[in-house]
């Protein structure tokens, strides 16, 4: 029970948050207020010209054509006036459109930049609980939806709203009684377009879902065609494709039918309202209350209700999606980084140019306990100390807590008990940027960025020179393969590093760590996915890059850490054995068992 209460409370807190979020997003539009007023003025000019057009024709008919002595000069004048206001109106609309888009684009850009900057500043726990795909949607499409609020919804509200009002005004000026009768169509249009709108939107979503299922299925089958062929399942896969294709086609046809029905209903309604005007207006002409030109104007005006009202209902949907997106973005923007810099950080003073770190690199864990959630401790009372420039290894099964340990040293998370120090200084007393300058991490999964090989080694940092990049690559043993690439260090790296092998990527990651020149180097299962021969090459590079640094290695393959000064064996969040390889083998415990299991044959470990 207490859990539910807590949850409700949190949700309430979130609701008020989203109101704040919305206000914050509106803040992005504030600097553009003056521009927006200009846009509104231009919109009004355009609408006035649109409303004037039928009025001018009405003048031609009533004052120049049906009079007893018509004169052409007046017709010509009004004709030119007509062309004039058309051009003015179009120009106003053209300028308005460009200004508005320019404004909207800058608003999205600013929101995107701030959102991205904010996400990058958040702590690791945020990334653990938020999918990357979701975050990308926030940055790319939610921001766009929010800007639609300004460029589409607000504009429509002003343009379409004003348009309906101005037409109503013109009608009232011409003849208020006929005007009141013709206003009957307005609620009818609103009702019909609102009813259809929901149906059309549902249909659209439905078809989109089915379409993406079909495409997803096709994509997957193209990727796994080999498996289908080897298992000889063509017919079965084809049947599923047919079923998905049929469902999509049926949905698509249904969607199309509804949209045709909607459009035809609208055009039927348009003609009905013209007939209504003929009837009501005709009677009025008959009784000499209005002239023929006025009737003409009414017939034109009543048709001008349709598009604006339709667009207003359409934009009501835009508003809803914008609000949802605003809430999502707001949720991210309001998340505060969990790990924050201390108010009074330790200043580390580098001794001289040869020692740019200002620390020796002694790492100490002192009775450290940690859990990702309140009740799930994953590390229990861990203590160890690594002298400067030592090489230590961590082994244990998946889930034993090895990677967590490294995440604590880099202060991706804050610990619940104990302390972690470097040269006796608590990691929480460093500025995060200072702390991270001391370290480099090489992971099993090598992250590559679209850019050149050199960019990937220097991580796009302007302060790392080409010479440093090359030297790092040479030391890591990556120079040879980089030179062999077309373009060498300037060779472009494709997305996901498709043009590099696993081993090459890992060498690149070593070079990257070297270029960063850390005092403490962390290798997290860096060699797990390699074949033995490649690993042997890496092993040599590893020894070179570890020289002069404190190196902590998490290993899947035991061969990687055979030479370590100390090996810590972990199990279920505790260190259960420690010592070097020879000592641990002699002990005949958990480590010795792991070593035996990785041996190739059963016969052999009986002899070992």
């Amino acid at each position: 029970m207490p859990k539910i209460d807590e949850w409700d409370e949190r949700r309430e807190a979130r609701m008020s948050d989203s109101a704040t979020a919305m206000r914050r997003l509106v803040g992005y539009a504030r600097p553009h207020l003056r521009e927006f007023l200009v846009v509104v003025a231009l919109v009004l000019v355009y609408i006035v010209t649109q409303v004037m057009q039928p009025w001018l024709v009405k003048i031609v008919i009533d004052q120049d054509l049906i009079v007893r002595h018509p004169h052409f000069r007046a017709v010509l004048t009004i004709g030119l006036l007509y062309l004039g206001i058309t051009i003015i109106g179009l120009f106003a609309n053209f300028t308005q459109n460009r200004k508005l888009q320019w404004m909207g684009q800058r608003i999205v850009r600013d929101i995107r930049n701030d959102l991205f900057t904010h996400i990058e500043s958040l702590s690791m726990r945020f990334f653990d609980t938020h999918e990357t795909g979701r975050l990308i949607t926030n940055v790319s499409s939610d921001t766009n939806q929010v800007s639609q609020f300004f460029t589409s919804f607000l504009l429509s509200l002003i343009q379409d709203g004003a348009s309906v009002l101005f037409v109503m005004g013109a009608m009232l000026l011409l003849d208020w009684r006929i005007a009141l009768v013709s206003f009957v169509v307005i609620p009818v249009i609103v009702l019909i377009s609102a009813l259809f709108r929901k149906k059309l939107r549902d249909n659209y979503r439905y078809t989109r879902t089915r379409y993406s299922r079909l495409i997803g299925y096709t994509a997957e089958n193209l990727g796994g065609m080999r498996i289908t062929q080897i298992f000889h399942q063509h017919d079965k896969q084809m049947r599923q494709h047919t079923a998905l294709n049929q469902r999509y086609t049926a949905g698509n046809i249904n969607e199309y039918r509804w949209s045709v029905l909607f459009n035809r209903t609208f055009s039927a309604l348009g003609n009905l309202s013209v007939a209504l005007m003929m009837w009501v207006g005709g009677e009025a002409v008959l009784h000499r209350t209005i002239q023929v030109g006025v009737l003409y104007a009414f017939i034109s005006y009543i048709q001008q209700f349709f598009n604006p009202i339709n667009s207003l209902t359409q934009n009501w949907n835009t508003l809803q999606t914008s609000m949802i997106s605003a809430e999502r973005i707001g949720g991210v923007l309001l998340t505060e980084p969990e790990v924050v810099d201390p108010s009074d950080p330790v200043e580390i003073v580098p001794a001289d140019a040869r020692d740019p770190w200002g620390v020796k690199g002694e790492v100490r864990f002192d009775h450290v306990s940690f859990g990702y959630g309140p009740d799930q401790e994953v590390l229990h009372d861990i203590s160890f100390s690594v002298p400067p420039q030592a090489f230590v290894g961590f082994v244990g099964e998946t889930g034993a807590g090895k990677s967590t340990l490294m995440g604590l040293l880099t202060r991706f998370y804050d610990i619940q008990a104990g302390s972690i120090t470097i040269d006796g200084i608590d990691v929480r007393d460093f500025r995060q940027a200072d702390l991270h300058r001391l370290m480099a991490i090489v992971q099993q999964e090598v992250n590559l960025f679209s850019g050149t090989v050199a960019d990937n080694i220097r991580l796009f940092r302007p302060d790392i020179s080409d010479a440093v990049v090359r030297e790092a690559a040479q030391t890591a043993g990556a120079d040879a393969f980089i030179r062999a690439l077309p373009g060498g260090y300037d060779a472009p790296i494709r997305a996901k590093g498709a043009n590099l092998s696993l081993g090459q990527r890992q060498l690149l990651a070593f070079a990257r760590a070297l270029a960063l020149n850390p005092k403490v180097l962390i290798l997290d299962e860096a060699t797990a996915s390699l074949d033995s021969a490649t690993e042997m090459i890496l092993q040599e590079g590893l020894t070179r890059i570890a020289a002069g640094r404190t190196t902590l290695v998490i290993a899947h393959r035991l061969s990687t850490i055979r030479e370590a000064d100390v090996i810590y064996v972990m199990d279920h969040g505790r260190i259960i054995e420690r010592g070097n390889h020879v000592e641990l083998m002699a002990k005949g415990g958990y480590y010795a068992r792991l070593v035996r299991q990785s041996a190739p044959t059963e016969r052999l470990h009986q002899q070992a």
């Binding site: 010509l76 058309t86 930049n113 690791m124 997957e220 796994g224 399942q233 003609n271 074949d531 044959t601």
Partner: protein
Amino acid sequence: MSPTELIREFLLKRKWSYALGIGAIGVAEFFQVRIPHILGDFINRLKGGVATEHVILGFALELVIAAAGYVFLFGLGQTRIGRLGRVMEFEMRQTLFGHWQTLSTRYFQQHSVGDLLNHTLNDVTAIRQAMSMGLNQISQALFLFVATLYMTIRTINLRLTLFSLIPILFIPVVIAIIRPQVRTRSRRVQEALSDMSELAEESFQAIRLIKASSNEPIEVERFRRKTQAVVERQMHLVRINTLFQALVPLLSGMGFTVGLVYGGWLVIHGHISLGSFVAFTVYLSMLVQPLMQFGIVINLFQNASASMIRIQVLLAVPPEITDPQEPVTDVSWTGAVTVRNLTFAYPDTEQPILSNLSFTVPAGTTLGIVGRTGAGKTTLLNLMVRDYDPPAGTIMMDGIDIRSMRLSDLRHLIAYVPQDGFLFSTTVGENIAFSQPTVDPEAVEEAAVQAQIWDTICAMPEGIQTEIGERGIMLSGGQRQRTAIARALIKSDARLLILDDSLSAVDTVTETEILRVLKKVRGQKTTIIAAHRLSALRDADHIIVLDHGAIVEQGVHRDLIWQDGLYAALYRIQTGGEVAHA
């Protein structure tokens, strides 16, 4: 069959349906052009002062009837043609998928999934748009254009029509020129947007690295450049869009001005009636739409014809791996494999991947294949399942060249576990029973138990019914591999089991268990295991060591250690030299 033929056949088969659709649109336009005419007559009567309330109501009703006829028939025709276009789209997707199923592994290695998907995403859609929207619009535009011209010339005035039409006739020209530009520019916007998303993706995925190296400011700067590029390209598009949105109404406004002035002159001089003048203004506004459509339709057909060519090329690709003319059947297969003098280079390459391999795997025994990455292990296994065709007479099953076997027979005999553990996005149970959808649950369970995945499955929220996501994303690498092993083991009547480095992501304890199970079933199956990790080969009866496509060593484990060659070297690396002296 080429797509042109496909479409021709489709049209012929449904020619009456199409005739009905187009016919309905034609008659609909006949009704539509009545409307301004009715209005004109109505105005003339009113102006002449001869109208009565009765007459007025009559005109209003006439207009309602004409409108009803137009709306109903046009809707009918539109729906019919739109539906046919979507049925054609359905058939085209079926044809494409069916064709892809016949193509070989080589084809899929040469073409990225993304490129192939473009056929079903863009090309098929482009053809459907031309065949439904395009056909609808062109029939509407043609009928409406002709009917309107007829009405204006016949009932109003030839010269008035011609003069007013001059500016309006530029509309299709403007559209045909600007629309492709709009498309190009909006594609460039899309590219900039996906560039931006990609950067966000790679940055979020590398967040540990970025944080650990304090690289956030650099990433933000890179991202800013991308968002700026988006703004610039968007404005590039906006510029042409706004121009386009202004030009069309400008041209029609000019036409209208001519109609107003010249029409007024004609009324003043008594050449046409006021009613005709009013009707003419309505006709003019009706003409704008079909003329815009001419421009759009031109583009639609241009796109569709480019798409047709691409699909034509795709459908012309012949299947590479096919059944023999006279397949050998009626053999009781035991699963003995013989490889004789096998040399193989991938098509269009010079360098052989495998050179002069010869070995035999007696039925019911286990062969291990070892070698570095690129030594040719996977190629050899791919030849056995005929992903590629080996040279004739080099790979034999029970003495019979696998190329003389029906593909379905060969693949029925083989249970195969791929390197990447590819799974489909259905339930874990359906993945295991992939080759036997009708098998009973016990068999699935048995296979899962054998592959050491059953306990994992039981721990999943919906057990065997758990959806495992796209390509099995919900599972870890080792779980995927074990599921793929279960998928192979369920083929109980297969005679040859092939594992292509399929235990690499499985931990050593589980590996031991799986090998123990394989040892039990191997009495019934010949087994071939390729592996990096030598521990996976501990039960092999015979091991061949490949290097640069040739067998450099072979024998049982102990012999290979004594030979002190490549195998022994690999062994030392993997054990850290621990037992090299054993």
